[in-house]
Subunit: 351 residues, 2 copies
DNA sequence: CCACATATGCTCGATAAGAGCATATTTAGC
DNA sequence: GCTAAATATGCTCTTATCGAGCATATGTGG
């Protein structure tokens, strides 16, 4: 390959600032897709906004709202994303942040050297769960339908011990063939760490690692579609979550990872809440995302003590007991300290 | 724009999986650049590997190793990056992770609708500081040369009170003109939070936010180059750090942010260390990156207590005092708990 | 009016973190 | 060789934080 960037040896020409890029051999057959994982919590269920492919077409799967990045029409990646989401679903995004850029060859159907390549730039958006009215298209679907093993709200999900653990163990047995002198972590160890097997603690943030492991082991339907070698014996296996189009499930997994991580150190839960809410509703929203149950009194102390909320003065009655005070988010905290999140520690794992 | 993705309304054609992307209007004039912020610590100085443009050419600036992504030659983004770095500098990368994808129009010289657009995918690599031998090109340069206000190792850097604070205050005075009914944070507040003004605590992780603020205020040389409106009165101002080519300084800022954050919760310091090291050397490396001085005894307790290291049995003499035990990284921790980092808390800010 | 459910305030003990004291072992200078 | 200085290392003490439980307040439904 060329070395033209080694400016010290070989001076770049006059128009120095741009020059290097223009001189390179560059492949124009790369498309750039913007993908949005739009997350909300509706009735204590964390949901993502998906668009359905035609149900009766073969291989129809859900997909995230997405569209190509057009540098002429879009000033920034994020504005391009917002415009696509608006067009496809009618939703106007609030909070949004970039997640990751995916480009693995082979992570799309019909791979091959001749196929044009696509890069997916994934975004995470947090919003309130507005009803299906207001949406021109798309629907809210629980993210646990795509990742049932992530739902620990009622204890350790059965699917892990029943469907995942035995298959991962089998996959780990026939090790990767390649000599493993490398410092790569052994398959069995990866499985144990990712899924909390053999007494290892469950880390709710490892959503992406878990999905990647299942994909690699040929246990995600997308692996079959992509023609991965290990996927041949797959057909008789139970579905491990709903598949999605292209690499969208991977993007959604990244979104869940990020959401679970960020909720702990930045006040992002409030993007998911209505203007006024009770502390218990707030707690339930956090639990919907993180899984385990939290200690109610300590949660109160934490949230109030951090100055994240202020009482509105009103109360919410008909809660089945003593009326709950209503609170609102104190936006001012963003101006104070480096605004903390809802720090919670996982309870002793109930496996 | 088109709505062809709304599959529920308008069925996608037969080859359903690929179809939507191919039908879109997609602009092929987008180049994809891979940029590497390669970080090491040499003699207690955090350094990045940069390639110098010809010194006597006009506007010559440092740049990060980079090259275009070529989907035919590169299986993944990361492998493409490794290959570019190897070609340009002779360095073989170890640890690498993706940082962010930048694409703002206007964040490059000669912007305009006719100019081709480039997307920069930034990567962070951590490595040992090998000598300049072994490098075919490029040099290690302290990252504090690009961001002098980030160097808190000898207390609060003077440049903040002398050069930055007054200019940011002036910039905040003539507010953004646009009516600020929006919940956007006021300029003065942003400056205060980013740079720890008026008694606000310094957050060493806000490296990117600080640089973005300086750019926006027209105080970064790149802003002048990009023809930003506020940059007109800039010429008589002192340089605030060395500028870099294109948006490379922004990528480096992101890399520093990520490094500072990650070192606290993942054992990534060890990527920067030789195989054997003393605890004091380890501490000095952490301090080079994070800035403030740490309490030596507690640092020992923390690192040893977390099981991150094990003694080799040897000692290092001629340290100027009692010989220090040598340690090595216990790679096994990666197989145990979700492997913690070197948790450190900032000492009371010495402002 | 009572049983019950939820909301909310407060305390207690375990643990981890910040800070300092004390001791060990070397090098440098006389 | 002896001593001062420098660094390494172990231990203790205090304080902040967190998990957990008890107690009380104030509604709803029968």
């Amino acid at each position: 390959m060329n070395m033209e960037l080694s400016g010290r040896r070989k001076p770049t020409p006059d128009k120095s600032q741009r020059a290097p890029e223009e001189e390179r051999d560059y492949d124009p057959s790369v498309g750039i897709g913007l993908n949005a994982a739009i997350v909300a919590v509706s009735d204590n269920e964390p949901v993502a906004l998906v668009v359905r492919a035609e149900p009766d077409s073969i291989g129809a799967t859900d997909m995230l709202p997405y569209g190509p990045f057009n540098p002429r029409a879009h000033r920034t990646l994020e504005s391009g994303l917002r415009s696509w989401v608006q067009d496809q679903t009618g939703l106007e995004l609030g909070y949004a942040e970039q997640l990751y850029t995916f480009a693995d060859r082979g992570r799309q159907p019909e791979p091959g050297d001749t196929a044009p390549h696509f890069i997916s730039i994934g975004y995470l958006a947090l919003t309130q769960a507005i009803g299906h009215h207001g949406l021109t298209d798309g629907l809210w679907r629980s993210w646990y339908q795509y990742f049932p093993w992530e739902d620990w709200r009622r204890g350790r999900p059965e699917i892990i011990a029943r469907d995942i653990e035995p298959r991962l163990k089998a996959w780990a047995e026939k090790s990767s063939g390649v000599a493993t002198s490398q410092p790569t972590i052994a398959r069995a160890d990866r499985a144990r760490i990712c899924f909390g097997l053999d007494g290892t603690a469950w880390d709710e943030e490892k959503v992406l690692e878990r999905f990647e492991l299942l994909y690699e082991a040929g246990l995600a339907e997308e692996a079959l579609r992509d023609g991965r070698p290990t996927a041949r014996e797959w057909t008789d296996r139970p579905k491990l979550g709903l598949p999605m189009q292209a690499d969208h499930r991977r993007i959604l997994a990244t979104a869940i990872s990020r959401t679970r991580a960020k909720i702990k150190y930045r006040p992002v839960v409030f993007e998911l809440m209505p203007d006024e809410f009770t502390l218990y509703e707030l707690q339930k929203t956090v639990e919907a995302i993180l899984g385990p149950h939290l200690h109610k009194q300590n949660f109160r102390r934490l949230v109030e003590g951090a100055g994240l909320v202020e009482p509105t003065g009103d109360v919410k009655t008909r809660t089945g007991g003593r009326p709950a005070k209503l609170f609102r988010f104190r936006r001012e905290v963003l101006l104070e300290r480096p605004a903390p999140g809802v720090r919670v520690s996982a309870p002793p794992s109930r496996s």
